[in-house]
């Protein structure tokens, strides 16, 4: 048996496949900022308010899921050696449905509209259905099950749980399905943020941190154990949550929190041992991201010891901001600033073949532009944390900073896309068809 016959270490899918996701995502940060400006400080009163839930989903679906699904379509051939079938069609379908579904869901929350939830249910259900199917098929066909593949399989399983629970909740709001809303929402949030997001980032980090920062590899015992620990821990925690076993919940929660802290600390230690000595904006994003993850774990652990913290609505809001905007958005923002100029260069090189001079990555997206947008990101992150504690003072500054960093990222990335298209159009027609 020669399985290599069916394996192609094919080059990347067409640029349009990931790019459409990457160019859309930043504008959802701007939408989130506009929603904050419109709603004002009240949006930080509790995580359960409709406007707060709309805000959360603009960030998680509009920004995070958008980039993650686009990046997976790009990455799977490289990391796993399997191509997602019919990439253009599937990418277009997922992209349109996810974008419209996110908008529909945010509007449904804001208008408390059952019909809106029904629309969102349909759009997002199909978008994630197609995405999960396409990516699952690729991942289970993977010829080699390395640490990244294993973490990604767990992550996809967690995404499946997250999406199922999300659809169930949409069914509750849309058609009045009988669902224990509080429990289902807790499970939905935890499987989404800890299961899907943390495991996906970990799977990517195993490859990306050692390779691009030139560090030692992650300890193999850690890589072997982490995904199973998080996946298994989440399953146990869920059972305890449903059965309301509070002591067991506390124990499994503690194991999970310690696991996340160990991942953050391990990554931080590797970054400290990097052989690459020159400054690099993505390095700062990795550091912010891992620090946020560690603080999330510490805040959760200490809130279990201090009952007044555990009951304060600010604690949940802070945990959400740390995980969503600190941990996930940081690492995604950093990645976008590398992957978009690289892919533009890569596809230009393949298509121009020496017929025109190709600008290097730093000409496509200068370091200075990345750094300045990064400062805006950092300001937005700190102001959001402050707004969770003192909404009256910090909500509007936080919203402004969020809008600035989102629009800036959008403009930076769109600029790369523009140079790409201009260069391709400058080619004579016969060269293009060659």
């Amino acid at each position: 048996m020669i399985p290599s016959a069916g394996l192609s270490l094919e080059q990347a899918p067409p640029f349009s496949v990931p790019l459409r996701f990457f160019l859309t995502a930043p504008w959802f940060l701007v939408l989130a900022a506009l929603l904050m400006l419109w709603q004002g400080p009240g949006i930080f009163a509790s995580r359960w308010l409709p406007a707060t839930l709309a805000l959360t989903h603009l960030l998680t679906l509009g920004f995070m899921a958008q980039v993650m699904l686009g990046a997976l379509m790009q990455m799977l051939p490289v990391v796993v050696g399997v191509v997602v079938p019919r990439p253009r069609l599937i990418a277009a379908l997922i992209h349109i449905l996810l974008t419209l579904g996110t908008l529909a869901l945010a509007l449904a929350f804001l208008a408390s509209s059952p019909f809106g939830f029904q629309i969102a249910f349909g759009l997002l259900g199909v978008a994630f259905g197609v995405a999960l199917l396409a990516i699952h098929v690729a991942l289970w066909r993977a010829p080699v099950a390395n640490g990244t593949v294993i973490a990604m399989r767990w992550a996809l399983l967690a995404l499946l749980v997250t999406v199922s629970l999300g659809l169930l909740l949409a069914g509750f709001f849309g058609w009045g399905w009988r669902v224990s809303v509080v429990i289902a929402t807790d499970l939905h949030a935890v499987w989404g943020l800890i299961g899907w997001v943390v495991l996906l980032v970990a799977g990517v980090a195993y490859q990306v941190v050692p390779m691009f920062q030139i560090t030692p590899p992650y300890p193999p015992q850690f890589v072997r154990g982490f995904a199973a620990l998080v996946g298994g821990g989440l399953a146990l925690w869920s059972v305890c949550r449903v059965e309301q076993w509070s002591t067991a919940m506390r124990v499994t929660g503690t194991v999970l929190a310690v696991g996340l802290a160990v991942f953050a600390a391990t990554t931080g230690r590797l970054l400290g041992q990097r052989r690459r000595k020159i400054g690099d904006p993505t390095l700062s994003y990795w550091r912010v991201s891992m620090a946020s993850l560690a603080v999330t774990a510490l805040l959760w652990l200490s809130s279990r010891l201090i009952p007044t913290w555990a009951q304060a609505p600010q604690t949940d809001l802070l945990l959400g901001i740390l995980l969503i905007f600190g941990f996930a958005v940081a690492v995604i923002n950093g990645m976008l600033c590398k992957i978009v100029p690289f892919l533009a260069w890569f596809h230009l090189q393949a298509q121009l073949l020496g017929r025109a001079r190709i600008p290097n990555m730093k000409h496509l997206l200068p370091d200075a532009a990345i750094r300045r947008q990064g400062w805006a990101y950092l300001a937005a992150f700190l102001l959001l944390l402050a707004a969770a504690v003192d909404p009256a003072i910090f909500t509007y500054p936080a919203a402004l900073a969020l809008g600035v960093t989102g629009a800036w990222l959008g403009v930076n990335l769109a600029g790369v896309g523009q140079i790409y298209h201009r260069l391709l159009q400058s080619l004579p027609a016969e060269a293009k068809s060659a």
């Binding site: 290599s4 490289v78 990391v79 050696g81 010829p143 390779m211 691009f212 690459r276 000595k277 020159i278």
Partner: protein
């Protein structure tokens, strides 16, 4: 069939790490604005990369292709990517020749990604496959690769 043989993977992965270290030194010299040191280190780096490519292209890939009967699959893409990296290295050499360290650093950023996504494919997929299919032959393949003497690219 030895599932756990990692001889070829280990040998070639070590070469990747060695090239990574060289790369970091080159980049650091460029960042420091030390053109002379950068030139010296770059020459070494480029030679190490070329030698590694030759070991794979002249020994490993042909053996893999003969054993699996597959010349259009993974090895074809790997050869293509070697060519891309050779071109990127040539661009860097050109920039360095003109003393344009900014351009050099822009090109090196591109090379790093090109190099690492290639490494991921080889280390995660191709090398483990080589160890599986060439298991009985691994020692001979490694010896043959060690015997390749560095020469200018054809």
């Amino acid at each position: 069939m030895g599932e756990n043989v990692v001889a070829i993977a280990e040998f070639l992965t070590a070469e990747h790490r060695c090239c990574d270290e060289n790369f970091a030194v080159v980049e650091e010299a460029a960042q420091a604005g030390d053109t002379a040191r950068c030139q010296r280190e770059f020459q070494q780096f480029q030679a190490a990369m070329e030698w590694h490519f030759q070991k794979e292209e002249e020994e490993l890939f042909p053996t893999f292709e003969q054993t699996t009967g597959n010349t259009m699959g993974p090895t074809r893409v790997m050869r293509l990517e070697h060519q891309q990296m050779r071109e990127a290295l040539a661009e860097m050499q050109g920039a360095l020749g003109q003393g344009d360290l900014d351009e050099f650093l822009g090109q090196s950023e591109t090379l790093l990604i090109l190099m690492q996504q290639h490494n991921i494919k080889e280390e995660q997929i191709l090398y483990p496959m080589c160890d599986r299919f060439l298991a009985s032959n691994a020692a001979a393949v490694i010896a043959a690769m060690q015997a390749v003497s560095a020469h200018p690219p054809a």
